[in-house]
Subunit: 338 residues, 2 copies
C-alpha cells in the first residue's frame, strides 16, 4: 500500500482562481474570494449552467494569475458532484486540452491536486490545471430535495457551497506555495446510513488518512501551522478530534474544517458547509493568501468525500467516506525547473 509520497519535484501553485455564491460572499471569508455572484443563477438558464459558469470563471482566473494560456496547459484534471461530472466535462469542452475526469465527491479537490502533483513528476508534464465546483441548488436537488421544496433539515445536515476553485500547478522555481506531500485516501465505512449526517460518515476516513500521514512521515501535527479537513462541518469535526485522540494524536491545537470556516453560525447552514467547492475556495482563496502574507507557512489539507449515491442510499447501503491529504508549504524558491 502506497505510503505518503514526498514529491521529488514539489508542485508549485502558479496561479489560482475562486468564485462563490452570494451566501459564501457574506460569510467570514467573503473578502478572500476573487469573485462572487449576485444570485446563484448567474444569468444562466439553469443552475447546472450556472455551475459551469462558476468553474469556467475559476479556470479563467487561475490561468490569468499564472500568466499562462490554456493551450500551454498539459492536462485539465477536474471533478464535481453532478451525475457524470457534467460541469467538468462541459468546461473541458471549451478548453481544447487533454482532460482527465475524476470523481471523489467532496474530496475531488485534493484528489485532483494529488493526481496533478504526481503527474508533474513525469518529465514531459509541465503544467496541470485542477478545477472543482459545487452549487447548492444543483447538488441539493440531485442528492436530497430540490431547494424549491423547502424541506426541513436536521441540525446535522450541511449546506452545499456554491462556488468553484481552480489552480495551475507547475515546476517553476520561484518562491511560493508548493504541494510537497501527498497521502492518498482509502475508502472507510463505519456504517452511517443517514445522508443528513455526512460529517459523521466522512470523519473516520479523514482520521485514517491523517493518522497514516503522521505515521508515514514521522511529523507531529504541530509541524503544520494549520491542518484542514474539507467538509466535516461542526458534527464531523468533533468526531475527528475524538477519533484522533483515541489514536494518540492531538489535533486540538491547530485543526480547522473548511465547512466550519466558510459560514457564520448565524447563516442558517446547520452543521456547516459541504461540497467540492468548500475546501477548494477556502484553500485557494483564503489559505493561499495567508501563505503569501506569511501568517502561515505549512498547511495540510484533507478534503473529505462521501461516496454514496441516491440509488445506493435507497438500496439500503451505508455511506463510504474518503479523504485525500495534500501538504501545501511555502518554499523560498530554487527547487524544480521550467
Amino acid at each position: 500500500m502506497l505510503p505518503t509520497i514526498e514529491l521529488t519535484v514539489p508542485a508549485a501553485i502558479l496561479g489560482s482562481g475562486t468564485i462563490v455564491g452570494p451566501k459564501e460572499a457574506q460569510g467570514p471569508l467573503g473578502e478572500s474570494f476573487d469573485l462572487s455572484l449576485q444570485d446563484t443563477l448567474a444569468n444562466q438558464s439553469s443552475w447546472e449552467k450556472a455551475e459551469q459558469h462558476l468553474m469556467q470563471t475559476a479556470i479563467r482566473l487561475a490561468l490569468e494569475q499564472a500568466r499562462i494560456q490554456a493551450e500551454n496547459i498539459d492536462v485539465l484534471i477536474a471533478g464535481d458532484l453532478l451525475n457524470q461530472i457534467i460541469t467538468s466535462s462541459f468546461c473541458a469542452r471549451g478548453l481544447g486540452i487533454p482532460f482527465l475526469g475524476i470523481y471523489g465527491a467532496c474530496s475531488s479537490f485534493t484528489e485532483g491536486l494529488a493526481i496533478g502533483g504526481l503527474l508533474l513528476q513525469n518529465e514531459s508534464v509541465n503544467h496541470v490545471l485542477c478545477a472543482t465546483s459545487s452549487h447548492n441548488s444543483t447538488a441539493e436537488r440531485q442528492y436530497r430535495y430540490p431547494t424549491e421544496y423547502g424541506g426541513q433539515l436536521p441540525p446535522t445536515a450541511q449546506f452545499t457551497v456554491t462556488g468553484a476553485g481552480a489552480a495551475v500547478l507547475g515546476k517553476r522555481a520561484k518562491a511560493g506555495p508548493h504541494l510537497t506531500r501527498i497521502t492518498l485516501g482509502r475508502v472507510i465505512d463505519l456504517g452511517v446510513t443517514n445522508p443528513f449526517e455526512m460529517g459523521a460518515a466522512m470523519a473516520p476516513a479523514a482520521a485514517d488518512t491523517l493518522y497514516r500521514h503522521f505515521q508515514d512521515t514521522g511529523l507531529e501535527p504541530d509541524y503544520y501551522d494549520i491542518i484542514l479537513t474539507g467538509d466535516l462541518a461542526r458534527v464531523g469535526k468533533k468526531i475527528l478530534i475524538d477519533l484522533m485522540q483515541n489514536k494518540g494524536v492531538n489535533l486540538s491545537g491547530n485543526y480547522e474544517d473548511c465547512g466550519v470556516l466558510i459560514y457564520d453560525t448565524s447563516q442558517k447552514v446547520n452543521a456547516g458547509g459541504s461540497g467540492c467547492a468548500c475546501s477548494a475556495v477556502v484553500v485557494l482563496g483564503h489559505m493561499l493568501k495567508e501563505l503569501y502574507k506569511g501568517s502561515i507557512k505549512r498547511l495540510l489539507v484533507a478534503a473529505t468525500g462521501a461516496l454514496m449515491s441516491p440509488t445506493s442510499y435507497q438500496q439500503g447501503e451505508s455511506i463510504p467516506g474518503i479523504a485525500h491529504a495534500v501538504a501545501i508549504e511555502w518554499i523560498d524558491g530554487g527547487i524544480g525547473n521550467g
Copy 2:
C-alpha cells in the same frame, strides 16, 4: 498541450481479470473471458449489486493472476457509468487500499490505464490496480429507459456490455505486455444531440486522439498490428474511418472496434456494444491472449466516452466525446525493475 508520452518505464500488465454477462459469453469472443454469469442478476438483490459483484470478481482474478495481495497494491484507479461511480467506490471499500475514482464514461478503461501508467513513473509507486465495469440493466435505466419497459431502439443505438475488467500494472522486468505510449484525449463536440447515436458523437474525439498519436510519434498506423476503438460500434466506426481518411490517415487495414467485435450481428444489439466494460473485456480478455499467443505484438487502444448526462441532454446540450489512447506492446523483458 501534452503530446503523446513515451513511458520511460513501460508499465507491465502483471495480471488481468475479465467477467461478462450471458449475452457477451455467447458472442464471438465468449471463449476468451475468464468467467461469465448465468444471468445478469448474479444472485444479487439488485443490478447495481450485480455490477459490484462483476468488478469485485474481475479484481480478484487480476490479483490472483498477478500473484499479488490487495494490500501490496499501491492504489486502485477505478470508474464506471453509475452516478457517483458507486460500483467503483463500493468495491474500493472492501479492499482497504488508496483509491482514485475516475469518470470518463466508456473511456474510463484507458483513462485508468493512462493514469496508472503515469503514476508508475513515480519511484514510490510500484503496483497499480485498474478496474472498470458496466451493466446493461443499470446503465440503460439510468441513461435511457429501464430494460423492463421494452422501449424500441433505433438501429444506431448500442447495447451496453455487462461485464468488468481489471488489470494489475507494475514495473516487473519479465517478458509480457506493457503500456508503452499514452495519448490523453481532449473533449470534442461536433453537436450530436441524439443519445441513440453515441458512435457518431464519439467518433470525432477518437479521430482527434488517434491523429495526434500518429502526428506526435511519427508512427504509421501499420506500426500497430491492430488499432482498436472502444465502443464506436458499426455506425461510429465508419465515421471514424472517413474522418481519418479526410486527415490523410488510412485506418482501413488494421482497425477494429471493440463494440463491433464483442457481439455477433445476430444478437440484436443494433449498432453494437458500448459501456466501460466493452473495451476492458475485449482488450484484457481477448487481445491480451493474442499478445501472449504471439499472433499480435503491438496494439493501440482508444477507449471512447460520451460525456453527457440525462440532465444535460434534457437541457438541450449536445454530447461531448473523449478518447484516451494507450499502446500495449509485447516486450521481451529486461526493462524496469521491482
